[in-house]
Each structure stands twice: as structure tokens, then as C-alpha cells.
Amino acid sequence: MSNASDCSSYSYSPDFKNYIYEDGGSSLFYIRAHSLKDNDYNKNSLNHDQDEIFRHEFKRMSLRQRDKGILSKLTNKKSSGFEFKVVDRQKYRHTDGELKELKVGNKSLKTANLSKSKKGDKRSLFEILFNASIIPGPDNKRLIIDRINTPSIFEKDLCVGDYIKTIDGEVITTDNINHVLHKIIIQKSFKIVAQESYKDDYDASQEEIKITKINDIVANKQKLFNLGSETHELIFSLNIIVKNEQITEDSDDFTTVFSYPPKDNNFLHKQKGSFLTLASILKGSFDKYPNVTSIKVHNTTFFVTYTIRNGDNEFIFLGFNSNYAGLFDSKHITQNFVKFLDYIYPNFIIINDFDQLNSLCEIVKIQLIRNPSEAINFEQLFSCPKFVPLPKEIVLRINDALSELEAMDYRNWNESLMELFGKFNVIGSCLFYKTSLICSHFNELDMENVELFVRQLCLKFLYEMCYVKEMAIWQRVYPKEYQSYNIENDSTKNKVFLLIAARANLMMCVLLEENAYNLNPEVETQSSNYLIYFLEEMEDVMDHLKVVGIENLTKIWINSAKRPQCKSPFDKIENPAHTEHQHLRQIKEECEDDDESEKDLESHIDSQKSSSGFENEDTFYKDFADIVPQTLTFGPENVLYHFTQLDFSEGIILTTINDNACKPPNDILVDIFRRSCLSIHCVLQNTIQFNQLLSRENKISSKTMMLPKEQGMLIDLIVGKQRLSFWIIGRLFGTKELYVCYDSKIPQNMVEIAFRIALNCIG
């Protein structure tokens, strides 16, 4: 396989080796990340290597387009003669920084005058047209805005330092700028896409943060996650209490094993007696366990969740401030957190070192702070990763790469790898692109555990908030769900390792199990050496994926938002109250956009095929074009606003890709949708539970029970002068739950079709 990458890892000695824990290498935690410069949530810094590759590609693209000879003759015109007007503006969050797209209307098509006005004018054509000057960037290819004069149509939207990415779909370089400009001035409207300046991030503030233990995340939380100053209120609390086996006279019946925050400033710990009493009454009188207790302290409501296990001897109380987590969230976070602790500890009740547990609690708190309870993030409540179906060709290639790794069919055979071969079994692997799952070879149980691991350690949040350069993690884990082939049949005796390696935006997770017959105390300490090999191997695979262009194709696929998506209906009307919100919407509205992104892909494939050796470009192209519907609705208007599908049997969530651009406080529609989903979800869950009960006991216990498998609501929303009416419907299909939000103008019998398409279009 090709290893022609400039950033191949062979020459590089992994830094993480120095950070392997001394206790026989049971865990490794190593992340290099860049914090983003300022508080702008939407900004993403650009990685140098990444950028290099992109630039190469764009260069190729531009050459290709010039070769095509679509250039038109130059004509000149004086600047004052042009009446450009920005008719629409959009901002997208792109992996490499914010993209600003301006749709410019051209009222005057007086092209003939251009040459006249150009005479004696030393300004560049760009300056004449837009009253702003551009200079070549450091690479001498790209064009960066140098100055914006007044009046200029760019005044409001672009700033000095932004670089002009495309105009009317053509990638702009120093070579073709004038050609393109001449072409567009005879058009009624055209689009300019500029990318936000990144140089500041890049030069000064790209402070690299090295995380070598979990506590480093907490220590660096301000830098990493841009959190504001700390509040003193109680946000999250964890109390682990065990019943004493022997009751002595001078001690209580119960011992607090762990308390976060520490006992002295944790008033929920002082309340533990109440919770224990309630648990005992309910057990005694109703033979049931309590789930959640809500209490009010100084006008703030707190939810305390109960996890009681091991024959009612262990009590785990988690407390949540209702300003940061709702009732439903609390239950889910509790479930997930406890599952996660079970996964990484053989038994977290009896661990000796509580420092790590403290850090993990801090991390939960960080995640809560970031998400005030007003904004319900329905999709993130579940322990399923967000899955993005990619075109078949890409999926095949990723599958190949992962399978090779799993089969230990390494590219660089040598003696030490030979040993590795017999040492471990690979249970499965998966690949994330940033926070989205793009390929998984896990069953749903492992997938859930891996997802929880990635999420609870803040790795996803890290990806959202930072630029992750490198990541190397391994951790011995204790999956309880399945028993493997060790002699005692005890899951805690299995040596299972979760390995996570990340290179820039790709993150790969692999579960390895040490072969039982190899269990030999003498060689046990050596396993870390083998894991290093394996991590390197994983990094190799990711390098390979990058070299053959999979990473970039994935990036383009995700960013061009080819999936059916939430298109906000409010974008159409210029609503002064909402202009602020609009820029956050990463939503494409018109057909031209699709053309453009398609062109992007097309040119990208063209540029790829020379370097990556894709053979059958025809099939490939077809795959891109046909596989996933671009919108679910036809006609001039978009009527499907949002959809989400929970698939518990496969353990994945499908939803609109770009929904994280609809930042919660702004997008009312998304918030309404999520709230409704939550409400419907509870109803559907009730149905599922009751059906299970019915199948077991075969009798109906309650006469008022109604078991809905579908619920819908018609909602009227008035924003300013605009009135919008839409349906939100949730439906249960076996283990799948599908939620859609669409315009109420659509006849309801068409909904069936929509449901079906949505079900089948998962790529």
C-alpha cells in the first residue's frame, strides 16, 4: 500500500511513549490539542498539515478548471457603474473555520463600460468592483482581503484577513481571480464564499495543550473549553455509600465511600439519610426502588438519582442542579455515567484511588455547565453515537482498512509484530470523524461502551471545542456484557483494552483482548509494548486513510451537507430580530448550493484520482451522486425541517448533520423539535416497556393503558410577523424511533412516504 504521505508516521517516534503509566501499562492517556483563540464558539483553527493538503487540492482543482477553458473575455467597467447588493448571506461552520457565503445581486449589467473605466485606473479589478483590496497569502496562491473601504458590499460581512475561497463556485487563486471576476460581472447574481481568517489563531494563540492524564483535562478546562468563571453553586454531586457489613455500636450503618464535591461543601451528602430512608421505605412497602427525588433548596431544584445494587448494599446518589440538567437528562446521565464507571473499573465502589473518580466527576460537571437545561439536546442524551452514512465507495475503503487492521494484516511486517499476532484478539473497531461515527465493526453493546468512554472523557467535547492534533489512549476496560474465554469465566479476569488513536479529525477506537492462554504474570508487564505497536499501527491506518483521500472526502461529504437536513423556514424573510441568529445556521437553501457542493465533490474526485489511484471513477461518481437523497422533498420550497432517528438495535442515531450549527439559544425550531421529541420519546418508551411486560405476563394490569406507537402534534409558531405551522411526529418501528418535523401544508397522507424514505435513506 502506498506510503507516499508527507506526514507518514514512520519517521516519527511517538511522543506518547513517555507517558505510559508505570503500573505495568494498564493505561495511557495522551492528547495534544490546540485551544481555539477567542471565545467565538464557531471558530475552528486550522491544522497546518491539513491545510497543506487542502491547498494542494484546491490548486489542482483550479488548474483543472482553467484547462477546461470556461473563461470569458475580459471586459472593463468603472466601479461606480456597478450596483452590487448582498441579497443573502449565510455562514457555515466548517472544519477549517467559518465560511461566509454572500449572494450578490448585480443590478447593472453594463459590461461594455468596463474597459473604459479601467483605463487609467491602477486599482485591481477586484478593488474596482468591490471597493476592497486583496493581496496574495503567504502561499502566493490564495487571496486574502487586505483592506475594505467604505462603501463596500463586504463591509458588514467580511473582515480583513479573510481569504476569498470561491466565487460562483470556482476556487479562487491568484491566477484565475481576474478571469472569474470578468465572468461574474455579466451575471445577474453570483456567490462569494470567504473563509474566516485563521492567521491569528495560527500564529499567536495556537497554544498546544498536552494532556497526559485525565486530570489535565480538568486542569486545562478554561483553555480547552472556553468556560467562563466558575460558579460556586452545586452543579453535580456524586455520593457512593455502602452498608456496613458489621454494625458496631459506635459507627453508623452506612459508610460514605466517596463524595464529590467533598463532604463539607456537599449539602446533598448531608441529605443522604433522607435518600437512604426513602429507598428503604419504598423497598419495604412497595418492593420498588426509587428513581429520582426532586428537592428544592433556596429556590433551586435539584434532582437526585438513585442507583442501588449489590443486594441493596451499595447506593450511588447523583445530584443534578435543575438549571443545568432536566429530570429526563438526569436519569440518562446517571445511567450513562454508571455504565461508564463499570466499564473502566472492575468495581468502582472499592477502588483505592479516588483522584481519577474526582476528575471524572469534574468532567461531568464541565459537560453540564456547557449545556444549560433550557436547551434540551435530545440527540445527545442517548448512549448512541451520531452516525453519518457515507457513500458506499468510501465506506468500502474504510471497511477494508479496518478489516486489515483487525486481521492484523500489517503493512510493515517485522519480528515484534509477529509476536503481537498471537498476543491479542481484536474484538472490533470503529472510526469517528470528529464527533460523528462513520464506520463501526462493533456490536451495539461494545459500541455503546466505546461511545460512552469517548463521551465521558470529554473527547467529543474536545473535538467540538478544540483542534485535536494527536491522541493516543489505552485503557484496560471491563466489559460486563459478555464473558470470554478465560478459565474462570470471570469478566474481570479478561484483559481487554480499549485503544483510541486520533490523527487530526479521524479518531479510531479498537477493542483488544489478550489471549487467555497467554496470561502469564511474567510477561504481563510487556503488554504495553505490544499496545504501542498496535497504536502505531492504528495511526498508520489513519495516515493511510488520509493519504488516499478518505479523510478529505469525508470532510467534504459532511460539510457539504448532502444529507436531508433542517432548513430553517425563517431564513427566507429578512427579519431584523433574527439576523443575529441567522448567521449561525449552516443551512443551504437554494438549488445552486447543491450544484456547487456537487461541483466541489466532482472536482475533488477528479483531483483525487491521480494521486490516490481510484480506478473506476465512473462508478465512484455515480455513488456520490445517487446514493443519498439530497433533500427529502421536491418542489421549490423545503418542507422537511428536521429529522432524527434513534436506532437502539444498532445503537446509532441518525440526524441532520449540521444541527450543531443551530446553536440552541437561537434556533427555536430545533428546540421545539427536541422538546417534542423528548415528550414523545417518553410515551413511546412507555409503550415499549409495557409491551415487554405484556409479552412476559400476558395480562393487562391497567385499564387506562393506551399504547401509542405514533404521536404527532401540530404546532403554530409566531416569530415576529411570521407564522409557521408544522407537524412534529414520532413513530415507533420495532426498536427504531423516528421523529420528523415538517410543514403542515403537506397533506398528511404524504407523510407515510416521507417516513418510508427517511427510513430507507440511511445510505
Binding site: F286, I672, L717
Partner: protein
Amino acid sequence: MSIYLMCLYNGTPIFNKKRGDNIENLPFSTTASFSSVHLFCRTQNVELSATTFGDDGLISWKEFESLLFVGISTNLTEKVLKSLIEKSFQAMVLHIGINEIKAAKNVDRLKRDLKSSFFQMIEKLMEYAENDLLDFNESILCHEAAVIHEKLISFSELSLASQYCFLLSKNRIICATDAFYDLHVNDRKLLILLLTQSNILQKDIPVYLPHKSPTIAYRLIGLPLIQGISIGLLCGQQPTYDELEILSQEFWQDSYDLLLSAEISNPRNFPPSIELDASVLGFLLINKFTKKYVISRNIQQVANKRNSHRMDIIRTFFHQAVDCDIFKNSSFYDSTSENITTNEHFYVSDYHKCHALIQNYNILCVLYLSVIPTYTMRFITQELLNKLLGDKSIEW
């Protein structure tokens, strides 16, 4: 469904009621524990409000004055349980007034003051939590209502006693004076409940209205007119019961036929002239403004013992889907520029379909056969709503 409702004063129980099939009384130790947990929290400045348990269990604590109410229920929404607790306390106010509750020092004295009708009322309220809508008054629709309403107003003027008059068919309101509708729905609910459950012949009962006048007592008078129909009114010290009884007999004498034909609507609860679509199994019409409702089933559909089951389903649908404020706790929606309303709801299950239409202040929930296509429900519901409200002679 099961409900336990208890009320304690300084840890001593005032009442401890249960409702539900095959459930046992809670031992005193358990009751005391529930109360002591709440007390313990209070000493730490923590207010214990609710705990969920099992699949659908819920415990709710609520303190009024120095009385602690604890409600434990399964398969009841939180809203209903809280409403039940609130009404239980208000029933107490209705009987003895808020001042006496505040001044209470002795549990035995308090229990003695609360007459047996109070305890009956608590049981009835617990029953209502299951088969009634606690926050609405049940009424009936009939063509005669408009004429009867006119008469009721003139009766109210003639009697010179009260502007608060209402006419009941069993416990359902046929019509009432505007002043009566101005009372808080809880006051109305409790008054009607007290009047209909009372067995005494001469219904002249002193009442404190929990919302309108918790400290000064009124007299609640019930006057039977014909079988099943009675008139209720609130008045001060004058006139006497006897005077009112004579007056009412004279006044309504010539309207007995009218009243009888209104009574025919029972138990259908809506005029026989209105026909229901064959796919409709039953409906629930709610007026959010006056807080009253009409519930009915389609008697053309096979009548069997499952009829009450259908009513339960409509009520469950209303509680679960329609009557929940999912957008309540959000700062998005209370700003004046943005407004959100839910206009329709529907449920689809294997056996039934439900559809609710919300128009202005009316909510119409309809239960359908499962064979009906989902998209046609809304048309039938709309048509039914138009039929029910289109008739001017029907007072709504």
C-alpha cells in the same frame, strides 16, 4: 392505578386513605417515615417535593400551613396527583375555613371539626383523579340550555339572594349564572361535589370558598326540582331555606317539561339531534375558558362493558398528550415576539386512534376506531366540533 393520600399534622395522621384494587393499607410506621423524611429535610432548609419510583410510581409531598399532605400514586401524572393534593387541602378549607386551620393546636379537635362529609369528599376526589378531570367541571350539552339559562338568571334576580346559581343534572352542570363561572374552578368543583354527595334532606351547608373567601362563610343551598335535576346557589344569611324552597317550586313549576327534555341528554350528554361519525367511539370537549367539559361515547357503537374503558382512554390521552406543557420551562417562549401554540395532537395505537383539536378556547379530543386513516381524523374532528358548537341553542 393506585393512590394513597394522607394528611398529617405534626406527624399525627388526620386521614390516611387508599384507592385501587388489591392494595393494602400503609402501616403507620411507613406513613410516619414519609412524614419524618420531609421533616428532616426541612430542618436542613431543604424542601422535599417528589420522588419517582418503580415504573410509574410517584410520591409527592406538599405542606399547607402546618399540614403535610403526602400522595403516593402509580400510573397517574404528576399534574393530577398535585391537583388532587391541592384539592384535598381546599376541601378542608371549604369545611372549616383557613383561619381555623391556621389556629389549629390540637389534632383531635381538628379532626372533630372536619365532619364526615369532608372524609367522604376526599374519597370522592381520589375517585375523580381516576375517572374525572379534576381541573374542570363536568357539564352537558342540550338544546334547552339557552332557555333554561334565561330562566335561571331571572330566578337569580327574583330570589334576591344570590348571583351564584347553577343547575345540575346529577353532578353535571346544565347551565349557571355568569357570576358562578367567575368563581375559581376549584371552588366550583368542590361546591358541586359537596352538594351532590350530601345525603341530608335540607341542603343548607355553611362553606368557605378556598379561593374567593377562605375566611368568611357562605351558605350553600341545594334545591331539588325534579328527579335528577337540582338547583344550587350560594347566599348569605338571608333568605331562609324554606323561603327559597317555596320560591323555587313556584318559579320552576311551569318549566318541568323543559327540564325533563334536558335530562334526556343524560348519559349521552349531548343532544340527540347530533349524529356522530361511525368511526367515532367517544369524545371529550373542553372549554379552557370556563373550565368545563363534556365527555360522551358513541352509543351507536357496540355497547358493552368496555364503555368506561373508552372514557378512560380519552382521559389518559388528554392527560398524557394534550394537557402537558412541554414548552413551559424555557425562556424562549415567554418573550412577547415569539409565541407558540399546539393546535392538534394525535395518538396511534394498535387498538384505537385519538385526535385532539385545539381551537380558540375549545379542546376536542376524539377517540376513533383504529381502522380510520390517520389523516382523515382531523377532518372528522373538525366537523364534529363545528356540529357541537354551531348550534346556537346549545350553551357553551
